[in-house]
């Protein structure tokens, strides 16, 4: 079985290809060039594995939250390939796979994605299971949520900045907060793994599947005059 997975939800672009024997991955952190890079680099992986697009049996992509543009590129590409080949596709919530390799941690695992405007997409995980909704939270809300836990571990491409801010503000004691040493690395291989799990459980996406944007409703935004 040949499986391709894309993560386009943050500034890190990750692509993973799993064939029967081998896992191939490419990751780059060139900010938001996903539309230019995704397909050529996918082809590079196909060439490395000596397979053709029509040999793909399952397509997986990140579901968000994250960059709106990035999410649409990933999902449109995944859907396009899946429809053309008549194979299933599965989308995996981004925060889930960012946290998924840290379920050993004895405390709260908090993946964060920069939502800009001093906000973060986040959720809280304990022992591999999600304890909150997918949130669009401010710094103070994250501190408040963290205070329910003795120890917290931050991960995600933006977490080192948040970690440093928290240490600088002394909002959480140094000995209780940890930073995933691989927080900046692509976790597209985890996206692929969880996508395969979902597929094995029969949880493939429908044609009209959409990314998780966490759009604030217009009423909440002080917006258009």
């Amino acid at each position: 079985m040949n499986i391709i997975a894309f993560d386009t939800s943050t500034e890190n672009l990750g692509i993973a290809l799993k064939t029967n024997n081998t896992l191939y991955t490419i990751a780059l952190n060139e900010s938001l060039k996903h539309s230019e890079k995704l397909l050529p680099l996918t082809e590079t992986l196909f060439n490395a594995a000596a397979i053709k697009t029509e040999n793909i049996d399952l397509v997986i992509c990140s579901k968000g939250p994250g960059s709106f543009t990035g999410l649409r590129i990933g999902m449109a590409t995944a859907k396009g390939i899946a429809f053309a080949l008549s194979v299933p596709f599965v989308s995996v919530p981004t925060l889930d796979f960012l946290a998924s390799d840290l379920s050993f941690f004895d405390g709260a695992v908090i993946p964060v994605i920069d939502a800009k405007r001093k906000r973060y997409y986040t959720a809280i995980y304990e022992k591999g299971s999600r304890k909150t909704d997918y949130l669009d939270a401010e710094y103070n809300e994250i501190i408040e949520l963290s205070n329910k836990y003795k120890k917290i571990l931050l991960t995600g491409p933006y977490s080192s900045k948040l970690y440093n801010d928290i240490l600088a503000n002394k909002d959480i004691a140094d000995e209780n907060i940890f930073l995933d040493p691989r927080s900046n690395d692509s976790k597209v291989s985890m996206c692929l793994e969880i996508g395969v799990d979902l597929y094995n459980k029969g949880l493939t996406d429908k044609d009209d599947s959409e990314p998780i944007y966490i759009r604030k409703s217009d009423a909440e935004e002080k917006s258009v005059k």
């Binding site: 900010s31 960059s67 709106f68 543009t69 800009k116 405007r117 759009r215 217009d218 258009v224 005059k225």
Partner: protein
């Protein structure tokens, strides 16, 4: 309208080494140009709500490594980053323009 917002943007574009024809993005919402630094020229005049801007990828662009020039920015209050420079163009009675460039607030 007709105050010279697009003409002003052309000047910024030239400064970035962009000599493409800069047209008003009133109908396209966002135009992208490749220069020394990317230029994103936006016009929010026709914008109905903030989600329309977000779905067009506006947030990704204004926080990226480019310069965003945003016409009718007052349509979205409290949306833009702290390092936003506000520019006001007024038409004087004699037809000349009074351009005010505000300091960063913080």
């Amino acid at each position: 309208m007709g105050s010279g917002k697009t003409a002003f943007t052309k000047g910024i574009a030239e400064g970035l080494g962009i000599f493409n024809t800069i047209t008003s993005p009133t109908f396209t919402l966002i135009c992208e140009y490749e220069g020394k630094i990317p230029l994103f020229h936006m016009d929010l005049y026709r914008l109905n709500d903030v989600s329309e801007f977000e779905m067009a990828g506006g947030r990704d662009l204004i926080y990226s490594n480019g310069i965003s020039v945003i016409e009718w920015a007052e349509k979205l209050t409290d949306y833009f980053p702290d390092n936003t420079i506000k520019i006001n163009i007024e038409i004087e009675e004699n037809g000349s323009r009074k351009i005010t460039i505000y300091e960063l607030s913080s």
